[in-house]
């Protein structure tokens, strides 16, 4: 491996153990078990990290936060069950030129980027179904073409909605015996599959969000999702192309391989504590797992592929590339 290729690897850390404190010690970031036996649990070289995700009762020392700021490390806060609470964003994560270009995007440029993302989402959904032996998805193909050529955002949203409905109506066929999926429900998810989908979308939104921040794009100014206070529209936009290809594929893998069973959920359709830990480690492994990139033809981890899409998006926004090239899997 060439030295320059190690940059994105292993750069995200999850801390789930309750009663711990994160500190800085020399050039390393150290997690201490302060409520337990007061031991050092694990440590990482500061240079290596760009994101730390903490779940529940984990706290940071002030010198650590100063260090995170210095090194551009984003801290994301979740509840113990994985609900996103907010982030600490290092002050240097603003580059005026990038923001200026982003805010100056014309509505035609926004539409072109959004069309590429939604077309990829539809195509990737069809590819996922195809891989699992679900056929007769020609309608999705047509909807993909329609998304690519949409002439305004409303039309694009309409096409996206129709495609999502068609796609979800077939998702059930990809699941192993004992699992069913009727329809997509949120707030609250009405069954175990919906619960896993919701959780995975949150985790993915966070991957995309910290990527956007790392490359100084404003995650709250989207190209398709409507602006709403506190809604990271651009992260939701970019997430579209990963929903079917990465998120849904991950959820079907979890249940089809028996990694997660019905017994792992409590009455609120929420993962029990132990199962949630399993989920996080599987998610992290899944992000580190490599695949052959459909255009670049080299092996790349999912996490790195996501960061690359952030870079490609930024290049399209600042005008370094003419178009946004979404990550599309055709088989």
């Amino acid at each position: 491996m060439k030295a320059t290729e190690g940059m994105f690897d292993e750069s995200v850390v999850y801390i789930t153990k309750q009663g711990t404190q994160v500190r800085t010690d020399g050039g390393r970031i150290v997690v201490w078990d302060v409520d337990g036996d007061g031991d050092k649990l694990v440590s990482y070289p500061t240079e290596q990290l760009d994101t730390i995700n903490v779940f529940g009762g984990v706290n940071f020392s002030t010198p650590f936060v100063a260090r995170a700021n210095e090194h551009g490390i984003v801290l994301n806060y979740f509840t113990q069950h994985g609900k996103y609470r907010g982030s600490f964003v290092p002050e240097k994560n603003t580059i005026a030129e990038v923001r200026r270009a982003q805010y100056a995007l014309s509505s035609d440029d926004e539409l072109a980027i959004a069309c590429a993302m939604i077309a990829a989402k539809i195509r990737n959904g069809r590819t996922l179904l195809g891989r699992k032996g679900v056929h007769g998805t020609d309608l999705l193909k047509d909807l993909g073409v329609r998304a690519e050529n949409a002439t305004n955002k409303d039309e694009l949203r309409g096409t996206e909605g129709e495609a999502a409905e068609r796609y979800f109506s077939r998702l059930d066929e990809t699941l192993a015996d004992g699992w069913t999926f009727e329809k997509r429900t949120k707030r609250p998810p009405e069954d175990h599959i919906n619960s896993l989908l919701s959780l995975t979308y949150v985790m993915m939104k966070n991957e995309v969000l910290s990527g956007l921040r790392q490359y100084n794009l404003d995650p709250f100014l989207g190209v398709l999702h409507a602006d709403r206070h506190g809604k990271p529209s651009l992260a939701l936009d970019l997430q579209e192309e990963f929903r079917t290809s990465f998120c849904d594929a991950f959820v079907t893998r979890l249940v089809n391989r028996g990694t997660i069973t019905h017994d792992d959920f409590n009455r609120d359709n929420r993962l029990r504590d132990e199962a949630f830990k399993t989920y996080l480690s599987k998610f992290d492994n899944y992000m580190k797992e490599e695949f052959t990139h459909p255009y670049f033809d080299y092996s790349v981890s999912r996490r790195k592929a996501i960061r690359q899409q952030v870079i490609l998006l930024r290049k399209a926004i600042v005008g370094e590339l003419d178009d946004y090239h979404a990550l599309t899997f055709t088989r």
């Binding site: 030129e97 290049k315 090239h325």
Partner: protein
């Protein structure tokens, strides 16, 4: 044209690859890689020796340059600026020579007497190579300062014409030269990446 002074070490960056310099300068896109981290530690650990002056900062409106000389060797009858480099190959680059020439020009103005040579110290081989500063060096430095000061954020320089330079470049992950050539082949016209074939995704 900017009124900002050009940093001598950026002469090196720019002559290595204008596009790399453009990323660093306008977008602060600096990858973290082995070469950069290693280089930084080396500088920090180097100790001081007798008759050497460490870290002299100089600037000149006249030249449009500013910079910090690593070490000034005050020995013998002439003052010699020394630039310390990490070079696995056991050799330095043309761009290192230009950086050194930049320091010589600054020093010359500061001292009011001519500085005809500088030295590059290589950590790997513990070697000190003396480099005479030629008219050609001086001219190139001046031309480059001119080019750097007229750069703008709107015009991204082309991909490099030498692929080897990308291998150790910390901006490569962001620059994505091969990937750019595959996605938008016209962006690679006239560069080392022109041969890249676009993989049809359909």
């Amino acid at each position: 044209m900017t009124s900002e002074l050009v940093n001598v070490s950026d002469l090196n960056q720019y002559s290595y690859c204008p596009r790399r310099y453009w990323y660093l300068h306008f977008y602060n896109t600096q990858g973290r890689n082995y070469y950069r981290v290693e280089g930084k530690t080396k500088h920090e650990n180097q100790s001081t020796r007798g008759n050497w002056l460490n870290e002299l900062y100089l600037e000149s409106e006249e030249l449009g340059l500013k910079g910090k000389i690593d070490v000034l060797d005050l020995g013998n009858d002439q003052v010699v600026p020394v630039e310390r480099k990490r070079a696995e190959s056991g050799d330095y680059y043309r761009s290192d020579e230009l950086q050194l020439a930049g320091y010589c020009l600054l020093l010359e103005e500061h001292l009011g007497e001519s500085v005809r040579e500088g030295a590059i110290y290589l950590y790997e081989t513990d070697q000190r190579m003396h480099i005479p500063i030629t008219e050609n060096h001086r001219k190139t430095v001046q031309e480059q300062i001119e080019a750097m000061r007229s750069m703008s954020v709107e015009s991204v320089p082309p991909l490099t014409d030498n692929r080897k330079k990308c291998e150790a470049c910390s901006a490569r992950e962001y620059c994505m030269p091969e990937e750019t050539a595959m996605l938008e082949p016209d962006k690679a016209t006239g560069t080392a990446f022109e041969q890249e074939i676009h993989n049809e995704s359909n």
